[in-house]
């Protein structure tokens, strides 16, 4: 919104105060994640567990082990919290929230509210909110807190010196067991001129101080789609380039198509089946050359954001010395128990998993911890892993896709509920999307589900629970869902399934019984 003049003056007067507060926030954050002057503790004799990497997987493992009485060292070369806290989920979801607010303001009339008129976006305010929230969340995993829990936190780069030892900051740590949880980093496409032209990744985009007027997003996966939409809603003129036929490859076609429609409605220029061939700098602008089949074009922009995937952090760990097999693209090789080729060393999280999510890192770390320290035999393959892309609407999935079931010879029936049939979605003006529940044909066994809804990330958990605990769709129909909620879609799905079981014979018998009971009961 445009401020009145007097408020603008006030804004100028309080600017130094805001900057000072920003500095305080940043200082508090750094104190939590990588304090200046931190002195690594003197190594214990032999650790039960040395964890390399203090991201979601490393933190879960280290804290879990320490809580159970293990002697634990946790090594981190960057910031405690890993990608998720520092350059991943936390800042991106914070920015998405701000962007969604602006989108809602522009659509105010759709919600029966007055149109606020011209909307001025304050990008710096949005970025400060990111820093503030990041600092707040960093408290729960601060280095001080970890130390108080009995964990030896060592800052510095780790390097194996043998099958049972690792060196950090010139000190050797000996271990009975180790866990590699070094995560992953943005993959950079091999595009001519890109380095010279300059680009952003998730590791740098949240450091922006000015909103790019024209933004080219390369990659139509979750990161690319989420940030393309967020920056568009904040006011950037966004073009998204995807070298495949649809966004979110591997996701259900209908979900990906709905997302395309949604991004287009936001005003994003969509280039599917298009490759990013080269980049160059021209004055203050960047020029990107694109090709779609036989059509070549160029785009002028102010910033290029790359989101084409993630590469595991396996370099400089001297894994050879530890006898740990790895691949620079696939990451560390692990078996179903998350054990590497050195049976004393385990891996968890992005460095070894196909599904690179915070919650998968967390779940895999719990498995690795139990298997490493308590002779556990927990399997990675036993996990039911949901995921969500936090666009608007969100796209969430758990379990099997139909194509995966078909490939295994399993016939599928899908129950589809449209969000426009769910009362709460209608009252909230959030009718776009669907819930699809994939059942083993002829049964109510849930094998998978895909959801497109504004809060699909929240809703998917119901189905994850059902799959994990072996609950069928009929069991879900017996769960009373609070009305009105968008999760009522599950009850509707269960009702739809129950109706398919009403065969002609059953209907006939029921009708006869009711006719008879009218005269006799």
């Amino acid at each position: 919104m445009t401020m009145p003049k007097s408020e603008n003056n006030m804004q100028q007067n309080i600017q130094p105060a805001i900057e000072a507060r920003s500095d305080q926030i940043d200082a508090a954050y750094m104190k939590n994640v990588h304090p200046e002057g931190w002195k690594n503790p003197k190594p214990a004799g032999v650790y039960n567990l040395v964890v390399i990497g203090a991201g979601p997987a490393g933190l879960v493992a280290a804290r879990g082990a320490a809580a159970l009485g293990a002697k634990v060292a946790l090594i981190e070369r960057g910031a405690i919290g890993g990608d998720c806290l520092n350059v991943g989920c936390v800042p991106s979801k914070t920015l998405i929230r701000t962007a969604r607010t602006y989108a809602d303001m522009r659509a105010a009339r759709n919600y029966g509210a007055q149109d606020p008129g011209v909307i001025d976006v304050d990008f710096q305010m949005a970025m400060e909110r990111i820093r503030s929230i990041r600092a707040r969340i960093s408290k729960s995993d601060s280095i001080k807190r970890l130390s108080e829990e009995g964990i030896d936190v060592c800052l510095g780069a780790a390097r194996f010196s043998g099958p049972t030892s690792v060196v950090v900051d010139n000190q050797t740590l000996h271990f009975k067991k180790a866990l590699i949880a070094t995560g992953a980093r943005p993959m950079i496409p091999d595009v001519a001129g890109l380095n010279d032209a300059g680009y952003l990744t998730n590791e740098t985009v949240f450091d922006l101080t000015e909103l790019p007027r024209r933004l080219l997003v390369v990659g139509g996966g979750p990161l690319g789609c989420e940030l393309a939409q967020a920056f568009c809603r904040l006011g950037s003129q966004v073009t998204i380039v995807q070298d495949e036929a649809m966004f979110l490859p591997g996701e259900e076609r209908d979900a990906a198509q709905l997302l395309s429609g949604s991004l287009a409605r936001d005003g994003i220029e969509i280039r599917l089946n298009t490759t990013f061939e080269s980049a160059r700098r021209e004055g203050t602008s960047k020029i990107a050359s694109l090709r779609s089949v036989d059509y070549a074009s160029t785009i002028e922009c102010d910033a290029i954001l790359v989101g084409v995937g993630r590469a595991p952090n396996v370099d400089n760990l001297n894994l050879e010395a530890a006898g740990v097999r790895y691949d620079s693209a696939e990451g560390i090789s692990v078996n179903d128990f998350l054990q590497t080729t050195n049976n004393r060393i385990y891996a968890a999280g992005d460095v070894c998993l196909e599904h690179k999510f915070t919650h998968t890192a967390d779940a895999s770390a719990r498995i690795a911890l139990q298997n490493a320290l308590f002779l556990g035999r927990k399997r990675l393959s036993s996990l039911t892993i949901p995921w969500c892309t936090y666009t608007d609407p969100e796209i969430a999935h758990v379990g099997m896709y139909v194509r995966e079931a078909t490939a295994k010879g399993i016939a599928i029936n899908t129950i589809t509920i449209l969000m426009h049939d769910v009362d709460r979605a209608i009252t909230d003006g959030e009718e776009e999307g669907f819930v699809k529940i994939h059942l083993r044909s002829g049964t109510d066994q849930i094998l998978g589900a895909t959801m497109v809804a504004r809060h699909a990330g929240e809703m998917i958990n119901d189905v994850t629970l059902a799959i994990e605990r072996g609950l069928g769709l009929r069991a879900l129909s017996k769960v009373i869902h609070a009305y009105p909620t968008q999760a009522e879609a599950f009850k509707k799905a269960a009702d739809a399934y129950n109706r398919t079981r009403l065969t002609t014979t059953l209907k006939f018998l029921s009708k006869r019984w009711l006719a008879w009971s009218r005269g006799h009961l």
Binding site: R253, H420, E431, Y497
Partner: protein, 430 residues
């Protein structure tokens, strides 16, 4: 055909005749090419030619065209396709037996840098098989028609069209090779696979069809269990030539259904979507539905009331997942006649009584959009008519009235062989 009111019979006759006339008015008599669209300067669409060829026997049987005239038009068409250039030259008419999607109406050469289209070639070939079956008499023209029909079909290299993949590719360009459009899920392509499987010279293997059907998704939407596809034309195009009633492939056997019944259910889903009208478009209702590929008001975002409406130009509209911009495709609605006659006739009567501008001279436009009309009183009806719309209307009304095309194709060994190789059995295939 069910018993019709005289007024309904009259209505169908008028719409069918108007659709037939498109192929008389927008074809080049010398080479048989049919314009993609009625607007001035439109190129030919090979699929529209396939519909046109299929329509000539209808014209003969209905007394709208003499058999001799139909044979001459047909022969000119087949001679053009047999003799036109087949090469990698970007201005050829075709390659590997397939043809480019759009051709110059006069020269017959590729235009618009269009793709060598597998599905549009299949629709053309379906028409060629119709005339190859229908013209069964002993005159010189009819003999040559049969000879050329066999030759054009046998020339197609279906195996090449897999592009080294498990399933058939959607298109190819001399400048870029095979296209990668992610052509998955149920589509209008059954006719394509049936023709590819039955080829006497370059057939695809049986696993190719299985590979395609493995991408199907069987869904329960609005209480209808069916093989999902959003746009209605997908549920019609292969059915224009093949009577799928009571014949089943392995997928449909497992679901205890058939593709004819599936299209009936898809039609009811369309009707139900319009009845629910979740996005509040003008005009939608139980007698006003039909969401398919076609023209629209054009690409623009316009605020109407409290909502910003997004309108499209030519796009494949579908339900229930969209895209939907308030545009109804009347030919798609009418083409459901054989599958769901009661609701289709009710919708046709509604169209006739409520939208006289749409049915002027009974020549159906590609689309009409009452929501757009609310901001532009002259913008109800989309510009021009599409050959595909006219073709599917012509064939489906005939299939409803007499079953002529279905009967002809039942007699065509290519269709029966292809269906059998795809695993179809039962019904008329016994």
């Amino acid at each position: 055909m069910k018993n019709l009111e005289p007024s309904d019979e009259d209505l169908l006759e008028r719409f069918q005749r108007a659709a037939f006339n498109y192929f008389m008015e927008h074809a080049n008599d010398e080479n048989g090419l049919v314009a993609d669209k009625s607007t001035q300067g439109a190129p030919a669409s090979i699929a529209a030619v396939g519909f046109g060829l299929s329509g000539y026997p209808i014209g003969v049987e209905r007394g709208w065209l003499t058999r001799d005239a139909a044979a001459k038009r047909t022969l000119a068409t087949l001679q053009f396709f047999w003799n036109s250039e087949q090469s990698e030259d970007p201005f050829a008419t075709g390659y590997k037996g397939f043809f480019y999607h759009f051709l110059d109406m006069k020269s017959g050469k590729r235009v618009w840098q269009s793709e060598l289209s597998m599905i549009d070639t299949a629709l053309l070939l379906a028409g060629i098989l119709v005339v190859g079956t229908y013209f069964d008499q002993d005159g010189a023209n009819e003999r040559e028609i049969r000879h050329l029909a066999d030759a054009i079909y046998a020339r197609v290299d279906w195996q090449w069209a897999r592009g080294g993949q498990a399933t058939l590719r959607q298109g190819w360009k001399p400048e870029a090779g095979f296209l990668h459009y992610g052509w998955e899920g149920y589509s209008e392509a059954i006719i394509l696979y049936v023709l590819g499987l039955a080829s006497p010279s370059h057939p695809i293997t049986d696993d190719c069809y299985e590979g395609w059907t493995s991408t199907y998704q069987w869904e329960n939407i609005y209480g209808q269990e069916f093989l999902y596809a959003g746009p209605l034309f997908i549920h019609h195009f292969s059915h224009a030539w093949i009577d799928f009633a009571e014949i089943q492939d392995p997928f449909m056997r497992e679901k205890n259904c058939d593709y004819f019944e599936n299209t009936r259910r898809a039609t009811f889903v369309q009707q139900e979507y319009a009845r629910r009208n979740p996005y509040g478009y003008e005009g939608y209702g139980e007698n006003c539905w039909g969401f398919s590929a076609g023209e629209g008001p054009g690409y623009k975002n316009i605020r109407i009331g409290s909502k910003t409406r997004q309108f499209f130009g030519y796009t494949a509209r579908g339900v229930p997942f969209g895209p939907d911009d308030g545009t109804i495709c009347p030919s798609a609605m009418l083409s459901s006649l054989p599958f769901a006659p009661d609701i289709t006739l009710a919708a046709l009567r509604h169209l006739s009584s409520h939208y006289p501008q749409v049915i002027a001279n009974h020549a159906l436009p590609s689309g009409f959009n009452p929501t757009f009309q609310s901001i532009d009183p002259t913008g109800l009806v989309t510009e021009g008519r599409l050959g595909l719309d006219q073709g599917i209307t012509l064939l489906m009304i005939e299939n409803f009235r007499s079953g002529l095309i279905w009967k002809l194709m039942r007699q065509c060994p290519t269709i029966a062989n292809g269906l059998s190789r795809a695993g179809f059995a039962g019904g008329w295939l016994k």
